[in-house]
Structure formats: C-alpha cells, structure tokens
C-alpha cells in the first residue's frame, strides 16, 4: 500500500458517512497501523451534510488535516461538488452512481461511480449502501483484508445488531464484485 492515505468521506447525514470513515480508522488500528478520524461536528451535522477525514498510515501521523485528499468518497452530489477540486493528482474519486447520474470526469484522477443505493436495495436494506461503497473502495485500494474488515464491523455492530453482520459483509462483497466487473485497477 501507499504509505499514507488521506481520505475524505462526505454525504448526507444518515448515509453512514461517519461509520464509513470510522471503519477505516478502526481497521488501521486493528492492523497495527496508525488511524486518525476527524469529523465535522456541531450544528452542521444535525440533518445536513456530514463529512469526515480519515488518515491511514504505516508511520506516526503528522498533520491531522490535509489540503487535498488521496481518495474522495462522495455519497451525494453536493459533497462531490464541494470536495472534487481538493483531490491530489492521480487521486481517486469514488462516488454514489445512484444519486450522481452524470459521469464524473476530472483530469489525472480516477473517477468511479458505483450505484450503491441500487445495489443495497437489491440486497433488501438501503442502509448498507455505505458498505457497498466500502467494498468498492477496498476493491480499488486493497487497504485492508476481509478478515480485518469483518472483525471491525462485527465490533461496530455489537451484540444488539449482530444479525446485521451478514448483510453488511454481503454488501462489501457486492461492492468488490462491481469493481472487479469494471476491470479497473487502481492500487
């Protein structure tokens, strides 16, 4: 993997944006790497847009903030518009193809749309759209193994929602499959 990945995750409140970011940071910690997660906080998170920054690194993390993300994960159009210009050269823009219909193009960047809401609906639970996105993200970046992700999600769901583990893992697999079918290579 690249030594440090700066990831920006953004979308509507309720789309699982924060969880997406936290799963990455928890996974880094589990793999004995360094993880850092920083949310937008305060009134703006109540019902409006939500975004968080994640840093995954194999060395001590310096600045907790970054100007340009290596990877932007955009769950809706306003988030894409807000952050698309702050992605590094050769960076990745992964976006929700169910809500962003027009194809996204940014020069020198890999832009991939995945219809995560539609795939999640097919699985019977639109709430796992964020995990479809996670699958696509991991399919492109290979940041974490399935074992790591499963252990983290299991802990995340806790005993109360333990029954949701299977559908979450299924969603991740669907996301990975989607990337595989596209035949795109990124990492």
């Amino acid at each position: 993997m690249k030594k440090t990945s700066n990831v920006k995750v953004a979308g509507f409140g309720g789309q699982g944006v924060m969880m997406f970011g936290q799963v990455l940071a928890y996974s880094a910690t589990k793999d004995d790497l360094f993880g850092l997660w920083f949310p937008s906080y305060g009134p703006e998170t109540r019902g409006g847009t939500a975004n968080c920054a994640v840093i995954v690194s194999d060395k001590q993390i310096n600045s907790p903030v970054f100007k340009d993300a290596d990877h932007l994960v955009a769950f809706n159009l306003p988030s894409l518009e807000k952050f698309r210009s702050n992605v590094v050269e050769n960076g990745l823009i992964l976006y929700n193809g169910s809500l962003i219909k027009d194809e996204v193009k940014e020069e020198g960047k890999l832009c991939i749309g995945v219809p995560v809401n539609d795939i999640a609906n097919e699985l019977g639970n639109v709430k796992v759209a964020n995990m479809v996105m996670m699958g696509a993200y991991l399919g492109l970046t290979n940041l974490f193994s399935d074992e790591t992700i499963e252990a983290v999600i299991k802990k995340f769901l806790g005993q109360k929602k333990a029954d949701l583990l299977d559908i979450n893992m299924e969603a991740i697999q669907k996301g990975k499959d989607y990337i595989k079918d596209l035949g795109v290579n990124y990492a």
Binding site: Q22, A25, Y26, A28, T29, D32, L33, F34, G35, L36, W37, F38, P39, Y41, G42, I61, N62, S63, P64, V65, F66, K67
Partner: protein
C-alpha cells in the same frame, strides 16, 4: 491493552480514570461533552463520584471542595466555560489544592464558535483569575500524548499542590486516533495529604483549613513569596519541549498542540523543496521552555510562531528570543485550521511575517 481507536475526549476521560481520579464535576459545553459523558457512565460504575453541576462556576467550586478534602478531582470545559471557572481556579491555586482542569479550546472571543482554536493561551498561562498565581499547563499534540499527560497530571498536581491544566483544542477532543493506554508514567514520591480537610478524627489535635484569605498584608506577601518559590521550582523541574529537525535549520517554527502537528507536515514539504526548517514544540506552556531557544543556531534566518490565534504564545517567543532573531507570526482563528501548505507559504515569504 493493545492499541485502540478512541476519540480524544473519551481518551481524556479514560486516562483520568487510569490516573486515579476520584471525582469529576463539570457542566456541558461543546466541544468537550464526551469527557463528562464517558465519565458519567464509568466513574459511577467504579464507585467514584460524577456530578453534573448547575454551572461552570459551581463545578469548579465543587472541585475546590473535593480537592480540599484530599481527593483526586478534575473538571473539564471549553473556552467560555473556562472563563467562568477563573474565579475558582484562582482560589484553588491560592489555597494550594491539587486538581486537573481540562480545557478543550474553541473559537472566541465571546460565545465565538465551536471549532478548534488556540485562542486561550493567555487564559491558561496568564489566567483570568485575580492575583499572582500560575497553573502548570501542558499542551499535547496528539491523543496519545494527551493520554500520557493526563495520567501523569494527577501526580504532578498532588506533588506540587497546584492545579494542572491540560490544554487541547477541539480537534484533539473530537478526532479519533490509534492509541496505547499502557505507556508507563514517571514515578514520583507523593507525600501524604496531611493537610486534607477530612475531619479532625483523621488528624487529632490539628485543624485543617483550605483557605485563600490572608487579611494581614505581611502574611499575604509571605504566602505569595512561598507560591513564587514553588513556581520557580516548577520552572526548574517541569519544563517539557521537543526539538524537531534541529540538525541544520534555515528557519525555526515555534508551535504547540495541533498547530505543531500540522507544522510537522509543513516541515516535510519544505524539506522536499530544499528548505530545512526546525521546530521548537513547547509541551509545557507554563513553565515555558525558554531554554529551548538557546539551542537555536545563530545562522537561522528567523523564527516563525504558528498558532490557531492571532498571536498569544508569540509574547513568550519574543521574551525567550530576547531580540536575537527575527520573529515572524502565522495565525488562523475562529475555528479555521490551516493545511500544511499555508505554513509552507508563510516560511517562503517569511519577511512579510516579521513582527519585531
């Protein structure tokens, strides 16, 4: 305990428990709410005291009471809340009671905002309370360092019978990082609290009073001189700082907390462009690490003070520098956090930044 991912505020709370806190008194304010929330659950479960007070004013006076009673006690708050606590903090320092005060800074002045800031450096190191008193102030740069300092702060407070303030910003409070809670804490010999107001049955023949009133000016001056001697001992023993990239720097950045961490990335970026920049990172803000400035090579072109404020630590930099080097300033405020590139630009255009 292996490494865990934890939110800064919750890590502060858990580190306080590991540091042996007996009681917490506080009042809600963003962005530190996870500290009391975590403690409300975990202190009570362990037979310790958690109490949400009716105000910050009340909370700090509850801290006074419990600290006077000889217990390990803390409060936490954020900028306007710390402002309200200043009266009690002055009394606690005057009465020489140990306690830990966590300040999670947000943008000011006034109600300001809730995003990260370092505009309460004066508040922490100069104090808004009355009289010649000092807090011992630590400003960690990461959640890991915050944990290590929190755990040790209760010992330091007890050792010197002085309030310790752990000063972080909203970013450290709100972010999550991979941390390790098992790093060992320096061992200190801690004397018995034979001054505690816990009833004369615990110390027959002697009445203990927690007090800051010395109506006779002679006595008050004596007390002040005693406090100053203590602060001098603290200046001698408790200075903490880190020198970063100090081999052969062209410039030296002076920054603490989150700003120092951002500057670490700026230094890396500048190195790639062939500009060598070192950094003095004060960890203790009182006592201020003046001695670090004696280690700056003569040939350095200037010092750039970077803060999430419009220049508060800058005063201490100017005092420590004592006219030797050019001093520049870069600051953002109100919750605006710069990315490393902004400091890169500031170093490149250092001459525009000079203040002395």
């Amino acid at each position: 305990m292996a490494k865990v991912l934890m939110k800064g505020n919750e890590a502060i709370a858990l580190a306080a428990i590991k540091g042996g806190v007996d009681a917490f008194y506080g009042y809600p304010i963003t962005p530190q709410n996870e500290v009391p929330e975590y403690l409300s659950k975990h202190l009570k479960a362990n037979g310790k005291v958690f109490l949400q007070a009716e105000s910050e004013v009340s909370a700090i006076n509850m801290v006074y009471g419990a600290a006077g009673a000889g217990k390990r006690v803390m409060t936490s708050s954020s900028s306007p809340g710390i402002a309200l606590k200043q009266e009690g903090i002055s009394y606690i320092a005057a009465a020489e009671l140990p306690c830990v005060i966590v300040s999670v800074m947000r943008g000011g002045p006034g109600l300001g905002g809730i995003q990260p800031s370092q505009a309460d450096y004066y508040q922490a190191t100069r104090g808004g309370g009355n009289g010649d008193y000092q807090l011992i102030v630590y400003a960690p740069e990461s959640i890991q360092e915050t944990i290590d300092i929190m755990k040790e702060s209760f010992d330091i407070a007890d050792y010197y019978r002085n309030p310790v303030m752990v000063l972080v910003d909203g970013l450290i409070g709100q972010m999550m990082e991979s941390v390790d809670f098992d790093k060992p804490v320096k061992e200190r010999f801690l004397p018995e609290k034979d001054w505690a107001t816990n009833g004369t049955k615990n110390h027959p023949g002697k009445i203990n009073v927690a007090n800051s009133l010395h109506i006779d000016p002679n006595n008050l001056e004596k007390h002040n001189i005693h406090l100053q001697e203590k602060y001098n001992t603290i200046r001698k023993n408790e200075v903490r700082y880190e020198l970063v990239n100090f081999d052969n720097p062209d410039f030296v950045i002076v920054a603490y907390g989150t700003m120092a961490r951002i500057c670490r990335s700026s230094i890396e970026l500048l190195e790639k462009e062939g500009i060598s920049v070192g950094m003095i990172r004060p960890i203790s803000l009182f006592p201020y690490p003046k001695e670090a400035f004696t280690k700056i090579p003569n040939k350095v072109k200037g010092l750039l003070t970077c803060e999430l404020s419009h220049g508060q630590m800058l005063d201490d930099v100017l005092i420590a520098n004592n006219g030797k080097h050019k001093v520049g300033f870069f600051g953002r405020s109100g919750g605006m956090v710069p990315d490393p590139e902004e400091i890169v630009e500031a170093i490149k255009n250092f001459d525009e930044r000079v203040v002395n």
